[in-house]
Amino acid sequence: MSGGVDSAVAAARAVDAGHEVTGVHLALARNPQTYRTGARGCCTLEDARDARRAADVIGIPFYVWDLAERFHEDVVDDFVAEYAAGRTPNPCLRCNEKIKFAAVLDRALALGFDAVVTGHHARLDDAGRLRRSVDAAKDQSYVLAVLTPYQLGHSIFPLGGSTKAAVRAEAAARGLAVADKPDSHDICFIADGDTRGWLRERLGTAPGDIVDAGSGDVLGRHDGAYAFTVGQRKGLHIDRPAPDGRPRYVLSITPVSNTVTVGPAEELEVSTVYGDRPLWNEPASTPVRAEIQLRAHGEPVPATVSLSGDRLVAALETPVRGVAAGQAMVAYRPDPAGDIVLGSATIASATRLPAAA
């Protein structure tokens, strides 16, 4: 129970469904004061109080589990290392994979619980398959797609059939004070939302070149390649305009040479996406036609997806722009009862070329 509205309603619904429910709030900060202040995060003392108060109203026991060390090792350190390696990580996904449905689940099962209930907006069908929420705008199946069938088998997502608006209305009707609490959007462990500044404190400055993809000319300097993400347009500080006057975007980041390569928008387009650490839940063999989502809240695109060895390859039917390594690629099968997650992988690379056979 983060202290937000979703987990509070999820807990209440789990009670209504007849489960014996215990509320757990995760203490993820080594020092709670160092994380976000105010009412929009999930790691502050105020959030812990909100969660406790919700548990009181629902009438369930409530405990704080200290997972600060695990969170730091598995999520925060990984976040820094990924940026240092030129990739763009998704810490929420990582937290689901390593903390909520691993460390917490393992501990819960050992203590005699059967499942972890969360307020994620996603559905689990009777066959144990993960599906999108009915609320497309709030769907979180993307950040859950890394979960194995074992993890999903011990998970309950009571909110997947409801819109966020319905969840808020239900919270109000249940007398939960968090009904109007704003959603959290940013990264919980970066208190002021300044990811670049936060990374700079940890990675230091590492000046390098900003290079034009076409000519190879050095167009400018940067203070650290980690501050850039593929597809980024703002903050490049290039004083020389492109010959055609069109805006330039970050095309790639090369940590070895500490180079940020920029170019025109169309250079961002990729047709083939390669992922590693694949997880394929479907018995259906590949290649398979599917829709593929390449970032949180990204528009899914039709693709042919194939699993070959340790790689998941998506041949996109229409090119897309701004695919960043480190993000997840999640394959869905469209379905009226909620698109079904077929599998996922971590994006390793993407090219403009069609997939090799």
Partner: protein, 392 residues
Amino acid sequence: MSYLDHAATTPMRPEAVEAFVAAAAEVGNPSSLHAAGRCARRKVEESRELIAAVLGARPSEVIFTGGGTESDNLAVKGVYWARRAADPARRRVVAGAVEHHAVLDSVKWLGEHEGATVVWLPVDGYGRIEVDALRAELAEHADEVALVSAMWANNEVGTVQPVAEIAALAHEHGIPYHSDAVQAIGQVPVDFAQSGAAALTVTGHKIGGPVGVGTLLLGRDVPATPLLHGGGQERDVRSGTLDVPGIVAFAAALEASVKAQPEHAARMVTLRDDLVDRVLAAVPEAILNGHPEHRLPGNAHFSFPGCEGDALLMLLDAAGVACSTGSACSAGVAQPSHVLLAMCADEDRARSSLRFSLGHTSTADDVDELIAALPGAVERARRASVKKPQAR
């Protein structure tokens, strides 16, 4: 349900509830001059006299406060400020390493904000203060010591401190000695005059009185700078309108609890020893913490190696058994107990500890329930703490 957390708070005694309700129904500020005020004042003063008689103090030495934390703050800060004001050289504060946080954090605060030099008195493996350390400190620095604070009995492991020896040493050097006796009252004999202490902390809700009322017994010649300024109540040391219902209920509970102390202690010792024997039989690896003899009669404190105290507490709670890890919380995150750490326990042993505390409503059934639930809880808690992250 088995309530084994009487050291946290214990049910109010019927006579205290009755006294509270009767007083709460009547109007009157004890500081007012009219008839209603006089009537209220009479109740407060009768309570003060009763409390003084029961605890071996003079009525004028009874300063009513909002409870144990306030009394500790007033004793530590108030006496430090007054003694330092009288002699700027007196900046040393000597306190036990296993004090309750109300003393511990007040002392630390004086060190961090008021220029105090803090001296912690070490304890032995049972949590008992090493009197020789105090002797050495006073031999060296008696002229600079503002006060000595050492609790009567420890709230976590139940160890009763060598109060008489500490008081004698402090007295020898003319240094005021404060003792937090919150856990001791009604459990062991406590007499303020005989103890030699200059200040003594007592609270209502640990003895069957209401929460939010207590007293600092403060010797008439002991200077203390007030924490709260205002109307000048309580010898000008503690301003604030007196809580008449709270005070009369506190006095009623204190009288009942101190009168019953010998029989109560004997009954608790029998019940507690049975609890200890059966816990050690059910979980042979368990370690009893605290002193084997100098111990509060209602206290049993164990470490369960390989378990996290938090996990055990949760599982026992689910089985209807209420106990405590006895450790301080921030945002509900348990820190290893400073008491266990001061006793030279390692962090794992400190984190694996649980306190079971008996009180005036405890019965053999409470112990039976604990023993029925404990082995299963220990097994699960152990499994949870050895569980390694699952590889993918």
